[in-house]
């Protein structure tokens, strides 16, 4: 399969819109879980070399990363990247309590995973319905560590044949709780053809 390395303006807008709709649904599901208004930034979407990703998400403090692997006609990862404070606040909103401990206990981790699972599930079903392509997701996995190491691990998961990635980054925020986090979507460039073909069928 030919590797896609550049996108036309139309393709870019269409992919951005598709991502936007998916993220919109995912944050609506988050909003229901926390019972608060959740805002989202416009997605930042780039088709870039895989190795350029770490510089775009660098963070000095340790962060919470929750990832879901996406497989099917679009392969990649969805990741929630949260500061410790944001993660603790979200747990408190969903579960009713959270500890001010250094790390995250088993209960807290499972709350975070469940949250990612619901958001990821909504994103995927919106994407597959909209584009009529089939995508499924793994169970979520969580880590609280250096942001570079978390990204590094995901780049490794992308595999030996992936040099370019469609990278979508959206910020979400709950103003009244002063929390914000990032939703990152990594789609390998080989999957782009399926998505673009699906878009072409629609227009």
């Amino acid at each position: 399969m030919k590797n896609i390395r550049t996108l036309t303006d139309f393709q870019k807008d269409a992919l951005k819109e598709v991502g936007n709709i998916g993220i919109g649904h995912a944050t609506t599901s988050l909003s229901k879980m926390v019972n608060k208004k959740v805002g989202v930034s416009l997605p930042d979407m780039k088709l870039i070399p895989l190795l350029d990703v770490p510089a775009l998400v660098r963070n000095e403090d340790p962060v919470v990363g929750i990832i879901l692997q996406l497989t099917g006609e679009a392969n990649g990862f969805m990741m929630l990247l949260l500061s410790k404070r944001t993660a603790k606040t979200l747990i408190k909103l969903i579960y009713g309590q959270s500890d001010e401990t250094q790390g995250f206990d088993e209960m807290e981790v499972s709350v975070l995973k469940e949250m990612a699972n619901i958001m990821g599930g909504t994103y995927i079903s919106s994407l597959s319905n909209f584009l009529s392509i089939s995508i499924s997701s793994s169970t979520p996995s969580q880590a609280y560590d250096m942001s570079d190491a978390i990204i590094d691990q995901v780049l490794g998961f992308m595999g030996a044949d992936v040099n370019d990635v469609l990278f979508l980054k959206t910020e979400f925020f709950i103003n009244e709780e002063q929390v914000d986090g990032n939703i990152l979507i990594f789609t390998d460039s080989d999957s782009l053809r399926f998505m673009l073909d699906a878009i072409n069928r629609m227009v």
């Binding site: 770490p54 996995s141 250096m146 978390i150 990204i151 995901v154 998961f157 040099n163």
Partner: protein, 162 residues
């Protein structure tokens, strides 16, 4: 008494070879592995940050520094070019964690990376003096070429000097 030495930061699928004194740094190794090689007599050392085990397994070979086997060759060749002798070279490695698990029983990328690095070093007859690999946390490494000490930092597990 602290003397300021040159610090060179190495990204993913990147490497550097520099003359003593210098400290080579790579930030946030997850499943990746950082490989230091130095020739203490020639006073040159290098560090590579690899992402995956083998270029043989890839259909896309444009970035040989991504892979353990091809990156180690590049690192060693580059040291030889600077006048290092292969029989004087020594190595230390860190990284290869498994931070996320999806409940698969197959060997993790981190484990495969470490294995591939060890295999390649053995094949090239470069002794592996020390390593800090595996587990489930990320590592930042600083390799001091002059002393040969690699300090391995993690977010919550302190600093190890190997």
């Amino acid at each position: 008494m602290e003397v300021t030495v040159e610090r060179v930061i190495i990204g993913i699928a990147d490497y550097a070879v520099v003359r003593n004194p210098a400290v080579l740094v790579t930030i946030g190794l997850g499943s990746c592995v950082g490989i230091s090689i130095r020739d203490p007599e020639a006073k040159f050392g290098g560090l590579a940050h690899i992402l995956l085990p083998s270029i043989q397994e890839s259909n896309k070979k444009e970035i040989p520094l991504k892979f353990a086997d091809s990156a180690i060759e590049i690192l060693v060749d580059s040291l030889i070019e600077k006048g290092c002798l292969k029989r004087k070279m020594e190595s230390k490695i860190a990284g290869g964690a498994s931070m996320f698990s999806f409940g698969k029983s197959t060997m993790s990328i981190g484990e495969r990376n470490v294995l591939a690095v060890k295999q390649k070093l053995k094949e090239m007859n470069i002794p592996l003096l020390a390593s800090d690999t595996g587990a489930n946390y990320g590592r930042t490494i600083e390799f001091n070429i002059a002393t040969g000490v690699m300090s391995v930092k993690s977010a919550f597990n302190g600093i190890k000097k190997i």
